[in-house]
């Protein structure tokens, strides 16, 4: 009978992804690009929010999109009309990993971009813990999903810097309690910046655009004019 030996390892699982995320972030910093990782459940309105954003974004801010989709290119088709740099990533996975983003960055001319959005794959669990190298993680919660979501998916809310509560126009038709949703979200992450809007009607979009400008400014010595 051979002897049993214990080998202590203490290795973080996902550490390899984090290393590549760090490299991605460095590349973006060198090029002066701010990357925002937009996450939500499917159908919360990420693509509609991006459409409204690109319609109204200050003309001096050069935006681009990395569009994550499991298989199709429906969302990318909707965004093509803006003529922005757009990379479609079809991932047979439930989230976009740092290596996938690294490949997408290879396909973009970073010197011509100020603000790069990742539209992550619709899912409240998997994207939350996978770093991509983004400067900010932002989550979209639509009123039709319910005010208890922060308590059910705390990891997502811990990770994000900002929470957008979307589809405000539908709130009167649901039992969504806006105040309770905000209280729940702040219980998980007291530093969360909360923006309420309807991407469909455009209500509240100014608050979102201000948030984007603040995020750009906080990473760049000279704000984009």
């Amino acid at each position: 009978m051979s002897e049993i030996k214990t080998i202590r390892i203490m290795e973080k699982i996902g550490g390899a992804n984090d290393l590549i995320a760090g490299e991605n972030c460095q590349r973006l910093d060198q090029a002066g690009v701010v990357m925002i990782n937009l996450m939500s459940s499917p159908g919360a309105g990420k693509t509609t929010l991006l459409e409204r954003t690109f319609e109204r974004l200050d003309s001096g801010i050069r935006a681009a999109v990395i569009e994550g989709d499991v298989e199709t290119s429906h969302d990318a088709e909707r965004l093509k009309r803006f003529g922005l740099p757009l990379v479609q990533v079809n991932a047979p996975a439930c989230y976009l990993s740092a290596p996938m983003i690294a490949k997408a960055l290879d396909q973009l001319d970073l010197s011509g971009i100020d603000l790069l959005f990742i539209e992550n794959i619709g899912n409240l669990i998997c994207p939350a813990s996978a770093k991509t190298g983004e400067h900010h993680k932002i989550m979209l919660l639509s009123v039709t999903e319910g005010h208890e979501k922060p308590l059910k998916y705390p990891r997502m809310f811990v990770e994000c810097d900002a929470l957008i509560i979307n589809k405000l126009d539908l709130a009167p038709h649901t039992n969504f309690d806006l105040q309770l949703a905000k209280t729940n979200a702040l219980r998980i992450n007291p530093a969360l910046r909360i923006i309420e809007l309807s991407a469909t009607t455009g209500e509240g979009m100014d608050g979102w655009l201000t948030c984007l400008r603040d995020m750009l400014r906080s990473h760049k010595p000279e704000p984009a004019i």
Binding site: E3, I4, R8, K12, C94, Y95, P154, P190
Partner: protein
């Protein structure tokens, strides 16, 4: 199923450490899972059993130990544990909400037992 990429990373690390230590067999794998990790234990075990087939880790016992969710207060530096189903990221000592997560967000390969 995000457990698959995690299980693959675990198995790669297990086999690498087994090789470095000239193991003929991996008897046990000890994992530490933070309370904020949304991995299903049964799925991780099932995947590891599958991925270990025809390797030195085949048949290894998989132990997954929970790690509490711990925050540290940035004002008074006190550490406090948060229960997932009664989540309140607020310092229990000074009630500040200027806090940061220090433990419980990750999955670790803690150790392996080998022959």
């Amino acid at each position: 199923m995000h457990e698959l990429s995690a299980a693959q990373s675990i198995m790669d690390a297990v086999l690498e450490h087994a090789r470095r230590n000239d193991a003929v067999r991996v008897v046990r794998v000890h994992l530490l899972k933070g309370g904020l990790c949304d991995y299903v234990d049964e799925t991780i075990v099932w995947l590891l059993n599958m991925l270990s087939e025809q390797t030195v880790a085949c048949g290894a016992q998989i132990d997954i130990a929970p790690v509490p969710i711990v925050f540290q207060c940035s004002e008074c530096e006190a550490e406090f544990i948060v229960e997932r189903d009664r989540f309140e990221a607020r310092c229990t000592a000074c009630h500040s909400s200027n806090v940061k997560l220090t433990r419980g967000g990750e999955l670790y390969l803690e150790s392996i037992e080998i022959e």
